[in-house]
């Protein structure tokens, strides 16, 4: 439902209006977009960057070659209250699937793997003081870091 509402808002700015014309067949959902992620799409330019999930429970949204990375709601729930967050330094170069850090709860520890090849441009400093943000808001305030893509991966965008 949220997806439809968001598209309608975006349509005004970006000529997606045609998608809703009955005559035009609706394009298939981009690969990797799970039903759960529909709740978290926002209005605005970020709409075109759909959230993709890795098989290790990280998510990534990309916009203009910059990826925002976090962990999924399923992951934060399974991990429990995050009490410690280890993130790389800004400037760290990562290859896709490289381990870049870890999240720890009282009971368990989980490594984090980069969904793309790139360089870390920003880390979420708020997590040092308040690692619980990962649990409270894993798609927004609890995001982990931003990476600039070295190789532009194919991004599935709804085209009309």
């Amino acid at each position: 439902m949220a997806l439809r509402a968001a598209w309608r808002a975006r349509a005004a700015a970006c000529s997606l209006r045609a998608a809703w014309a009955p005559a035009v067949p609706c394009p298939p959902l981009p690969l990797g977009l799970r039903a759960g992620a529909a709740r978290t799409l926002r209005t605005g330019p970020a709409l075109l960057s759909v959230r993709k999930f890795t098989d290790k429970h990280e998510w990534i949204t990309t916009e203009n070659g910059i990826g925002t990375v976090g962990i999924s709601n399923f992951a934060q729930e399974a991990l429990g209250d995050v009490v410690y967050c280890s993130l790389p330094e800004v400037g760290t170069k990562l290859n896709k699937q490289d381990e870049f850090g870890a999240l720890e709860s009282v009971k368990a520890a989980s490594e984090l793997y980069s969904p793309l090849s790139g360089e870390v441009t920003e880390i979420n400093e708020a997590l040092a003081e308040n690692p619980g943000l990962v649990n409270k808001s894993c798609y927004e305030d609890g995001k982990l870091l931003l990476e600039i893509q070295r190789i532009i991966a194919a991004v599935n965008v709804c085209r009309i």
Partner: protein, 359 residues
Amino acid sequence: MQRAVSMVARLGLRLQAFPSTLGRPLSCTQDVLRRTPLYDFHLAHGGKMVAFAGWSLPVQYRDSHVDSHLHTRQHCSLFDVSHMLQTKIFGCDRVRLMESLVVGDIAELRPNQDKVRELQNIGSDVGLEVVDNALLALQGPTAAQVLQAGVADDLKKLPFMTSAVMEVFGVSGCRVTRCGYTGEDGVEISVPAVGAVRLATALLENPEVKLAGLAARDSLRLEAGLCLYGNDIDEHTTPVEGSLSWTLGKRRRAAMDFPGATVIVPQLKGKVQRRRVGLMCEGAPMRAHSPILSTEGTVIGTVTSGCPSPCLKKNVAMGYVPCEYSRPGTPLLVEVRQKQQMAVVSKMPFVPTNYYILK
């Protein structure tokens, strides 16, 4: 019965190690997991079941681990510890049997049964049977007050490490012992299996009481400086190394009539190679198997248990170090995630205990 295994090892370092929380069945091991009398009760209360030492037990319920832990320290929590089977030892020579075991893991039936047979073979009058009782632990500052409402006996006259048989919330034949594994005041109630659900339900009716699982149990005992068998102590540690010399009775030390006496008694008098100590640090949590180093960088020991302390908001751990490094306040290094972090030897318990001791 298998000995207890490290919670972190069980729950694993990857999220994939939470099969029960996904609702997917475990592999065929699910079929051979034993169930306590409260199995359905746990499911009905939102318990997330995991495999632990051959049993299906709740790791937590609907509350988060940290909330459950803190609730125990501020109010009280109810734990199902029925996996710790209770055995009745009978016969005129039952004291002899117990004394021939002393610091051994009494819960392990096989060694006991061999010992029973050994003694029976030389004419000793002794026997052993597993009792069909559940074991419920009610732990926390308000545990005694909650329990008092359901028993006629005055619990003020039941101090730490004593027990009495009594009717509890209408369930007769319960043995209440003032002990536990959290560092808080509390009791462990041995209840006939048929009355277990009724008793648990009655206790839960008091708003002070919440159910708690294995996750909270492990972080609570670690804050209290209590050992987990299989991690902090095992068949390769002596009571002296484990900083548990207080368990050895004076008469027994003199008589040297317990297993391992020839190794242990000299350690009591002289020096011991290594000792179990508490450690605290900031930064990344220390976990079992993290190496401990001197400030010069030489590996001197290993962490045996560790976790972030929900009460202290620092990382606490237990490990073994040579005697010369065991004084509280000694600075050390612990290697965590390939990085060396400053740590300091600390007295245990990390969080003050509240055992009900009569003065």
